[in-house]
């Protein structure tokens, strides 16, 4: 029988390997899987390529993972945020690589990766410094850039509720990149506030069908990045 429930966050991230590409859900703190990220710090995998819109804030969650030196490369659209000091410091000292991608191109590249599309064209960034190294091509008299699909070994995301098949629903703007990352990663690990019985999620309202999800772990009262940062918490 199909039961994707995992007992603990530690078990859920146990097989993340050194050098893995890890997509991390969230836009700012909304949808950031703090508990999975802390479990990943405890687990110790290093040399990671991490895909997220930002680079975390304070010294918790994604920022703590970066601070711990586990991230070799970030792929993101906006590595600078209020209270974001960890990444800038490591970046300036050349200890972490950055691939800067416009936010919409980043989202679409992740979806493409999940949808088996190796590449697509977009008008975003034509004629800007971010065009560098990309192929330009004209369609119907307008110029576009070729963008390639992104896939990952793991996705760590956060949902509101899941069922044992891995069907997911989200909370408000915490949805953001999560449904796309679930599609693009070989192993998608989800922390949810609540695991409900099969059939409790209406088939019409499931946002991420279980086929895109490998592991579901309950974190009943997830921490909020802004609260941790305001309290001066530094993980571990």
């Amino acid at each position: 029988m199909i039961d994707k429930r995992i007992a603990s966050v530690d078990e859920a991230v146990a097989n993340v390997f050194d050098g893995a590409t890890v997509m991390v859900g969230g836009f700012g703190e909304a949808g950031s899987p703090i508990e999975l990220l802390h479990a990943l710090i405890d687990q110790g995998a290093t040399g990671l390529t991490v895909v997220n819109n930002n680079t975390g804030s304070g010294e918790v969650g994604l920022a703590a993972l970066i601070k711990a030196g586990r991230v070799a490369k970030m792929i993101c659209s906006y590595p600078r945020t209020t209270n974001s000091t960890v990444f800038p410091e490591l970046y300036r000292s050349g200890r972490v690589e950055l691939e800067l991608v416009p936010q919409g191109t980043l989202a679409e590249r992740i979806r493409a990766g999940g949808a088996g599309i190796p590449a697509f064209y977009t008008q975003t960034a034509v004629g800007t410094p971010l065009e560098e190294g990309q192929e330009r091509r004209s369609f119907n008299g307008r110029d576009y850039l070729l963008a390639t699909g992104l896939t990952a070994d793991f996705a760590l995301i956060k949902g509101r509720a899941a069922d044992p098949h891995g069907n997911l629903v989200y909370n408000k703007t915490a949805r953001n990149f999560a449904p796309l990352m679930a599609m693009a990663a070989r192993t998608t690990v989800v922390q949810v506030a609540e695991i409900v019985a099969l059939g409790e999620l209406d088939a019409e309202v499931v946002v991420t069908p279980g086929i895109f999800v490998e592991r579901v772990v309950a974190v009943a009262n997830p921490q909020h990045e802004s609260v941790l940062v305001a309290s001066g918490v530094s993980y571990p």
Binding site: R111, A203, G210
Partner: protein, 229 residues
């Protein structure tokens, strides 16, 4: 058919049952229209299989009870179905993202012809007056991890459907992994058709005579370059 195979070979239901044996617990499966649809009935007890229908449903269940159907809850063959507990509805782009993105474990399809290199022809006989119609077949064979074919070993005229090279228009290049016929189970390998299993009472020679390309006997693995292919 019974004339051609002289009473030998599996019935359609027995073929479907044989396919079902090879479907693992927890698999996400798309079943083509026709004989493949029969497979769902025979999945062994204790295995949970989730069925995908490309028109936007994961967790497809059996046909509804008489009078309980909804004309807007149908499968790819446009027949009324039901949705199991844990099902999800989604639009066509998401549905084919599952297919193209390699998220489905298995697809079971019918065939007009299968070539020894795994080429599949199952959408058109190329007849000049035929209305071409492909549906989702090309997407499925290109995207799904494992492709099983379930088919009669020969056409109604007695011609082999397992051939050296397909003469009908292709659905996909080198896509088939395993073929289940009334006479045998055959894998597509780098060396060609590898016989895996014979139906009860069927001999190697009997199947070979009805196959348009060399069959590698059960258990034999040709040394590199050792076969005609």
């Amino acid at each position: 058919m019974s004339e051609l195979t002289e009473g030998l070979g599996l019935t359609r239901d027995a073929m479907a049952q044989r396919v079902a044996v090879d479907i693992r617990d927890g698999a996400y499966v798309n079943l083509g229209i026709g004989i493949p649809e029969l497979v769902a009935k025979y999945v062994p007890e204790g295995r949970e299989v989730i069925y995908h229908t490309e028109n936007g449903l994961l967790g497809m269940g059996p046909s509804p009870e008489e009078g309980q159907g909804d004309p807007e809850l149908i499968n790819a063959g446009k027949r009324q179905v039901t949705a199991n507990l844990g099902a999800a509805f989604f639009h066509h782009a998401d549905s084919f993202a599952m297919i193209r993105g390699g998220h489905l474990d298995l697809c079971v399809l019918g065939a007009l012809q299968v070539a020894a290199n795994g080429d599949l022809a199952n959408w058109s006989t190329g007849a000049p007056d035929a209305i071409p119609a492909v549906g989702g077949a090309m997407d499925l064979v290109a995207g799904v991890k494992t492709i099983y074919v379930i088919t009669q070993h020969c056409t109604k005229n007695g011609d082999p459907k397992l051939v050296e090279t397909c003469s009908y228009p292709l659905t996909g290049l080198a896509v088939v992994d395993r073929v289940f016929t009334d006479l045998a189970v055959i894998d597509i390998t780098d060396s060609g058709f590898q016989l895996v299993e014979l139906s009860p009472g069927v001999s190697f020679d009997y199947v070979q005579e009805r196959t348009g390309a060399p069959l590698i006997p059960i258990g034999e693995t040709p040394s590199s370059g050792g076969t005609e292919r």
